[in-house]
C-alpha cells in the first residue's frame, strides 16, 4: 500500500523550500527568458524567418520553455536530494517506513511541479511579447509535464551520484545547455549543414523541442509519435537507473 502521507511530507517540505527562495526560484528564470525574448525575439528575430507562417518570436517560445524547465528541473531535483546528503539528513529518509518509489515520487514530484508552474509562467510572460495561439493546449500541457518529469528524474540521479556542488553543476552546464541550444530551440535543423543535421538526430532534446513545438503550431521537425516515444524512452531509462541505484544502495547506503 502506498504511503501517501510520507510522500506528501517530502513533497510539501521540498515545495516550502521554493517559497523560502521565491526570487531565486521564479523571478530569476523568468527574467532570463524575458531577456531572450527581447534579444532573440524582438531585436534580432525581426530579421529572421525560418517558416513563412510562424513569426520568429513565437517560433522560439517552445524552445525557451524547454531550455528553462530542463535547467530548473535538473537543478531542483538534484539539489533536493543532494542537500540532505550534504547536510547528513538522509538518515531520516532512509530510516522512515517509506519505499524507494515513494521517495522518488516525493522529490521528483515536487521538482516537476515547480518546473511545470515555471513553464506556465514563462508561457504567460511570452504573451507580452508575441501573439501565441496554442493549437493543441492539452497536448502542450502533457508534453510540458512529461518534460518536467523526465528532467527531474535526471536531476534526481545527478543529485545522488554527485559528491560535491561542482559535480551538481557540471551536467546542467556542460551537457544540458549545449544539447538544448543545439537541439533546434532557436532554429530549424534544415538550416544546418548535412553533417550537423545528422548529429542533431542523436540529440534527445531535439525530439523534445520538436514535439513541444508541434503542440503549439501543429508542425514539428519529426513526427509527434516519435517525439512522445523518445521522451517515454528517456523517462524509462532514468527510472531504470534510479531503480538500480536504490537496489544497490549506490552512494546512499553504506
Amino acid at each position: 500500500m502506498i504511503n501517501f502521507r510520507s510522500i506528501k511530507a517530502i513533497y510539501i517540505f521540498e515545495m516550502s523550500r521554493t517559497f523560502r527562495t521565491l526570487i531565486q526560484s521564479l523571478i530569476s528564470p523568468i527574467l532570463s527568458t524575458v531577456l531572450y525574448f527581447i534579444v532573440f525575439g524582438t531585436a534580432i528575430g525581426n530579421n529572421i524567418n525560418f517558416t513563412n507562417e510562424i513569426p520568429y518570436g513565437a517560433f522560439i517560445v517552445p524552445g525557451l520553455v524547454i531550455l528553462t524547465i530542463s535547467m530548473q528541473s535538473v537543478n531542483n531535483a538534484s539539489f533536493g536530494i543532494f542537500f540532505p546528503k550534504f547536510l547528513g539528513t538522509t538518515y531520516e529518509i532512509l530510516s522512515a517506513p517509506i519505499s524507494y518509489v515513494e521517495i522518488v515520487i516525493g522529490y521528483v514530484g515536487a521538482s516537476a511541479t515547480k518546473s511545470f508552474c515555471l513553464g506556465l509562467l514563462i508561457l504567460m510572460t511570452s504573451t507580452f511579447f508575441v501573439d501565441l495561439d496554442i493549437k493543441f493546449p492539452i497536448l502542450m500541457l502533457c508534453m510540458l509535464l512529461l518534460s518536467c518529469v523526465s528532467f527531474s528524474l535526471l536531476g534526481f540521479i545527478i543529485g545522488i551520484v554527485s559528491d560535491n556542488f561542482e559535480q551538481i553543476n557540471f551536467v546542467p552546464m556542460i551537457i544540458i545547455t549545449p544539447l538544448v541550444f543545439l537541439g533546434g530551440s532557436f532554429y530549424t535543423i534544415d538550416v544546418l549543414p548535412d553533417f550537423w543535421q545528422t548529429i542533431t538526430l542523436f540529440n534527445p532534446i531535439f525530439y523534445l523541442v520538436s514535439g513541444f513545438r508541434y503542440s503549439f503550431f501543429g508542425t514539428g521537425e519529426v513526427n509527434i509519435i516519435i517525439s512522445i516515444f523518445s521522451i517515454s524512452l528517456f523517462i524509462l531509462l532514468c527510472i531504470l537507473i534510479i531503480w538500480r541505484i536504490f537496489k544497490t544502495g549506490y552512494k546512499i547506503k553504506t
Binding site: N3, R5, S6, K8, A9, I10, I12, F13, S16, R20, F83, P84, L87, G88, T89, Y91, E92, I93, L94, S95, A96, P97, I98, S99, G249, K253, T254
Partner: protein, 307 residues
C-alpha cells in the same frame, strides 16, 4: 521480559572487506535502557544503522517488535526513532516544521497537541518558531530527540547523545533520557563514556571489533567483574616483601609504606584473615586498612585488554 529487538547472527561486511559486525546476537527488552559500550570504530553505529535501515545487512536477521527489518521494513521502522551522532538539520527550517515533517514522514497524522506536549517536555516550545540554525548546540540536540520521538516510537536509538557536550548539558540530557524511559520508551544508547553507561543503563553490552564481548545487567557486571583492593598502611618502610607473604601476590606502594592486596569480593574466601595473620607473624605494625572497589572503567579496560 518481553523482547522488543531480536538480532540473530548479524554480519556486516563493507565493500573494502572490513568486517564491521561479526555474528552479533542480541536481545533487547521492552522498557530497558541498554548501553552499547565500545571504543571508536567498534561497530556501535553500524549496528544501529543496520537495525534502522540506514545501511544494508550482509547476513543475519533483525526483528523489531516481531517485524523483520528487511521483509517487513514498514512496520519495523514505524517502531523506531533515531537520534544521530551528528547534528544534522535543514538549517533554515523552523523547529516546529522540522518536527512536524518527521512525524508525517513516518506516516503519522498531524497531531498538534502531541507535538506541543513533546516540545514542552523537551523545553523547546518557546523556540518552536525559531530557525534551527539560530539554536545552541544543546537545543539542536533536543530538536533531534523531538524529531525522533515525533512519531511516537517504542524504541529510541541515541547514538552518542552527549558526545562533545558540556557537563551541565550532559546531566540535563541524562535526565531527559531517564524521563523517556519512565514514559515507556526502550532506549538503546551508544557511548564511549563509561560514566554515562554506569549511570543510565539497566544492561551493558561491550562491543569491540564488531563483536559483542559481553552483555549483562550493569550491577551483575560490576559484581562479576569487579575487584577490590585491600590497602594496608604500615608505620615502617617496606623495601621487600617477606617470603612468608609471597603467596598473596602483594604489591608495595610507591611511597613504600603500604601493601596492596587484590581480591574478589564475590568469593567465599577472600584470604584477608589469613593475610592479616601472616602479616602479624612477620612483625609488621599496621596503622590502618582500607578497601578500594574497581569501577566500570577498569572493568571495561580489562575486557578490551583480554579481547
Amino acid at each position: 521480559m518481553q523482547t522488543i529487538i531480536e538480532i540473530k547472527n548479524l554480519r556486516k561486511i563493507y565493500k573494502d572487506n572490513k568486517v564491521a559486525l561479526d555474528d552479533v546476537n542480541l536481545n533487547i527488552f521492552k522498557g530497558e535502557i541498554i548501553a552499547l559500550l565500545g571504543p571508536n570504530g567498534a561497530g556501535k553505529t553500524t549496528l544501529i544503522s543496520n537495525i534502522c535501515g540506514i545501511s544494508s545487512i550482509t547476513s543475519g536477521d533483525i526483528k523489531v517488535n516481531g517485524f523483520d527489518v528487511v521483509d517487513n521494513y514498514r512496520e519495523a521502522r514505524k517502531c523506531i526513532g533515531i537520534v544521530p551522532q551528528e547534528l544534522s538539520f535543514e538549517p533554515f527550517e523552523k523547529v516546529i516544521n522540522t518536527v512536524n515533517f518527521s512525524r508525517q514522514l513516518f506516516g503519522k497524522k498531524p497531531d498538534g497537541k502531541y507535538i506541543e506536549n513533546l516540545l514542552k517536555k523537551l523545553s523547546l516550545w518557546d523556540k518552536k518558531d525559531q530557525i534551527i540554525r539560530s539554536l545552541s548546540g544543546g537545543m539542536k540536540r533536543r530538536v533531534l530527540i523531538a524529531k525522533a520521538l515525533s512519531h511516537e516510537p517504542d524504541v529510541l536509538f541515541l547514538d552518542e547523545p552527549t558526545a562533545g557536550v558540556d557537563v551541565e548539558l550532559r546531566k540535563d540530557m541524562w535526565n531527559t533520557i531517564k524521563n523517556l524511559q519512565n514514559s515507556g520508551v526502550t532506549i538503546i544508547l551508544t557511548t564511549h563514556y563509561i560514566e554515562e553507561a554506569e549511570l543510565m543503563a539497566n544492561r551493558i553490552a561491550v562491543i569491540n571489533n564488531g563483536k559483542i564481548l559481553l552483555i549483562d545487567k550493569k550491577d551483575n557486571l560490576i559484581d562479576r567483574m569487579s575487584k577490590k583492593t585491600l590497602i594496608i598502611h604500615t608505620n615502617s618502610k617496606i623495601n621487600k616483601i617477606d617470603k612468608a607473604l609471597g603467596k598473596f601476590k602483594l604489591r608495595i606502594s610507591n611511597d613504600k609504606k603500604n601493601l596492596e592486596y587484590d581480591y574478589s569480593p564475590n568469593k567465599k574466601k577472600t584470604g584477608i584473615t589469613t593475610l592479616l595473620n601472616e602479616i602479624k607473624k612477620t612483625g609488621i605494625e599496621l596503622i590502618d586498612v582500607q578497601t578500594k572497589q574497581s569501577n566500570l572503567e577498569q572493568i571495561f579496560v580489562e575486557i578490551l585488554k583480554n579481547d
